[in-house]
């Protein structure tokens, strides 16, 4: 995916990061920011270590917030055979944050459980048949099934954050390494890009993000999506008017992540994604960077409609 979509490797990510640091000093302008995002991120106990502060006085979110690597493997040795059982159920976050997968698709819940979830996105009545059809045909129609980025918010919180004065960079490396992505988010008052600034660039799966600090919480506002983003695996479509507000707050080695999704063309009301709590990964120094190509070869062999 990464090579087909972006065409460059992580070296370029950091070149882009350097460019971002130099670009975000442009004139500040009024930002359209959410006012109704719920703050349900203040229920955790006292942090185990102090929250680092960046040079500009804001909490420093820099760190690797990915603890998946190997943590979920159930490894046993039987004679000369090493048996690796992959995770088959989603670990409750409150009970074991070390097993908190950094994805939001809830693919480890059953399809029936997700369909019965009262907190799933609420679609306009006229769109429900289409959502149900996409759900039925997910195995063939899901954009993420065809090497496209899952987009925001399906990617969940970033696996790594790099923060500097006036800019935050989110890096993504999916648990299965099937894609990676990045977002460069100005936090210096820069507005969303205008059509002129886009200079012909298309809307994307990751959108255009700007950030601002509300006290100790980083609020990221994202628009300019391409209409091909699903909010989850169950056919949860979106329009080009998708608008995502993410809130991130660090407490010591813990990162609280919450996202609110607005899409007046698709949803009857904003969808508040279940909040996530991530723990700082001090064991690894970086996300994986192999970046093999993505080549989807299953679609022509799928014969029945089951999906996760």
């Amino acid at each position: 995916m990464k090579s087909r979509v972006f065409g460059y490797n992580l070296t370029v990510h950091f070149a882009a990061l350097a460019a971002a640091f130099s670009l975000v000093s442009g004139p500040a302008a009024a930002q359209k920011m959410p006012t109704e995002a719920k703050d349900t991120m203040r229920s955790s106990p006292a942090p185990s270590s102090p929250t680092p502060v960046s040079t500009d006085g804001h909490p420093d979110l820099t760190g690797l917030w990915w603890v998946y690597r190997g943590a979920n493997l159930d490894v046993r040795q039987v004679g000369k055979t090493t048996v690796n059982l992959q995770p088959t159920s989603r670990a409750p976050e409150s009970e074991d944050p070390e097993n908190n997968l950094s994805i939001n698709t809830r693919i480890y819940d059953s399809v029936a459980a997700r369909r019965a979830d009262p907190d799933k996105p609420s679609y306009k009545p006229e769109l429900i048949p289409r959502v149900e059809r996409l759900d039925r045909l997910e195995a063939k129609l899901d954009p993420a099934m065809h090497c496209k980025l899952p987009g925001i918010v399906r990617s969940g919180p970033p696996e790594q954050i790099v923060q500097g004065p006036g800019v935050v960079v989110f890096l993504y490396d999916s648990p299965d390494a099937s894609y990676d992505a990045f977002r460069i988010i100005p936090t210096d008052g820069h507005p969303h890009r205008t059509a002129e600034e886009s200079n012909g660039l298309s809307p994307s799966y990751m959108g255009d993000s700007i950030g601002k600090w509300e006290g100790d919480t980083l609020v990221v506002d994202t628009t300019d999506f391409n209409g091909d983003v699903w909010l989850g695996i169950d056919g949860w479509l979106t329009s080009t008017n998708l608008h995502v507000i993410e809130r991130l707050r660090r407490e010591g080695d813990t990162l609280h992540y919450q996202a609110t999704v607005e899409d007046p063309d698709s949803l009857t009301k904003p969808w508040v994604m279940p909040a996530r709590t991530l723990r700082l990964n001090r064991k690894d120094s970086r996300i994986e960077q192999e970046q093999p190509p993505c080549m989807e070869m299953d679609s022509s062999h799928i014969v029945t409609p089951e999906h996760h």
């Binding site: 039987v78 992959q86 299965d176 999906h307």
Partner: protein, 136 residues
């Protein structure tokens, strides 16, 4: 503990796990049949170290000497690597025995459960779920 007991415990653990196998990309039963296991011994003719699934192309000779190339699908690169199977271990020219489950469309495609190398060591990369022969 004797191996048979360990094996039985493994099967039990698998049965206690989820009833629907979970792949990161697509649902296993949409494409593969857990009731059609196949054990193939041959030589890797090509390795597709790609996402969302690694493909091992295995040349398998039958008793008449005819060679059939099987497309054998596995986890994404990251998960397979973390499971202990590097691309070096399954590179072109490597003799392998592979336990896999056949595609429902009847093609020479199967999903890998277990790699066994010529020195006898093996790595099983699986996700629990229903075992062959068990009720739906």
């Amino acid at each position: 503990m004797r191996p048979k007991v360990q094996d039985a415990l493994l099967v039990l653990c698998s049965l206690l796990a989820w009833s629907i196998p979970v792949l990161a990309h697509h649902a296993f039963p949409a494409e593969f049949d857990v009731d059609k296991p196949v054990t193939l011994t041959g030589v890797v003719s090509k390795l597709g170290w790609v996402n969302p699934h690694v493909y091992v192309y295995l040349d398998v000779k039958d008793s008449t000497g005819k060679t059939t190339t099987w497309s054998l699908e596995s986890w994404p690169t990251g998960i397979l690597h973390r499971s202990g199977v590097s691309k070096e271990m399954i590179k072109e020219g490597t003799p392998l025995t592979i336990l896999a489950y056949r595609a429902k469309d009847g093609t020479n495609l199967a999903y890998i459960r277990k790699f066994t190398w010529s020195d006898g060591h093996a790595i099983e990369t699986w996700f629990g779920g229903r075992e062959p022969g068990q009720p739906q």
